[in-house]
Symmetry: C2
Subunit: 129 residues, 2 copies
Amino acid sequence: MTDIPDFSKGDGLLAAVAQDAETGEVLMLAFMNAESFAETLATGRAVYYSRSRKRLWRKGEESGHYQEVRQILVDCDGDAILLKVRQQGMAACHTGRRSCFFHEVSAEGVRIVSEPVVDPLALYSGKHD
Amino acid sequence: MTDIPDFSKGDGLLAAVAQDAETGEVLMLAFMNAESFAETLATGRAVYYSRSRKRLWRKGEESGHYQEVRQILVDCDGDAILLKVRQQGMAACHTGRRSCFFHEVSAEGVRIVSEPVVDPLALYSGKHD
């Protein structure tokens, strides 16, 4: 029987995708450990684990722009997480963009396909992982 | 200057999310190495790297249900990939479901929120990672 989610995989860190619950836009991808998952479930706000800072990362702790979690889904084999969220403050990305996924890669190269919706300096200076 | 994508991170494996290009549904999450990314870009079909089988995993190679890639997006810091795809054959999941994300986790426990749309035995016996 697979644990849902199964933190015995991925050295205790599972990839977690945040998707806008209303528009379906994929906002970001980060990682969760068991503690961040439990806190997300308990508080209804997205909590990740920062691999670079090696600590819990309560999304919005610096900017106030937290993610209100509407639904938590886990995949077939228990090692990936999908959060359907309401993003406070417009921008999920530290660059001030709505989504972190703004580099389009094609045979022609890399192109930036979205612009900031808020001033990143007004958010915070950190980056998310 | 960050490489987009940057395979120097994550021990050469980056998380990749496949999203239905039309409906916005998140179908699955898997991993890519540089070789699978290059082949995806060159062929227009999603190619992942199977961590369990330690080899390239050409999605649909057994079932014929490949993913036609409409757009490739990479995140702000170069370490996550979003594929907007057209999923052939209805089901992205080895269980025969449209999406791999069918376990809803809440304070009440785990609940299955979608059912197979195709017979998984008609797909293949393998699982995706």
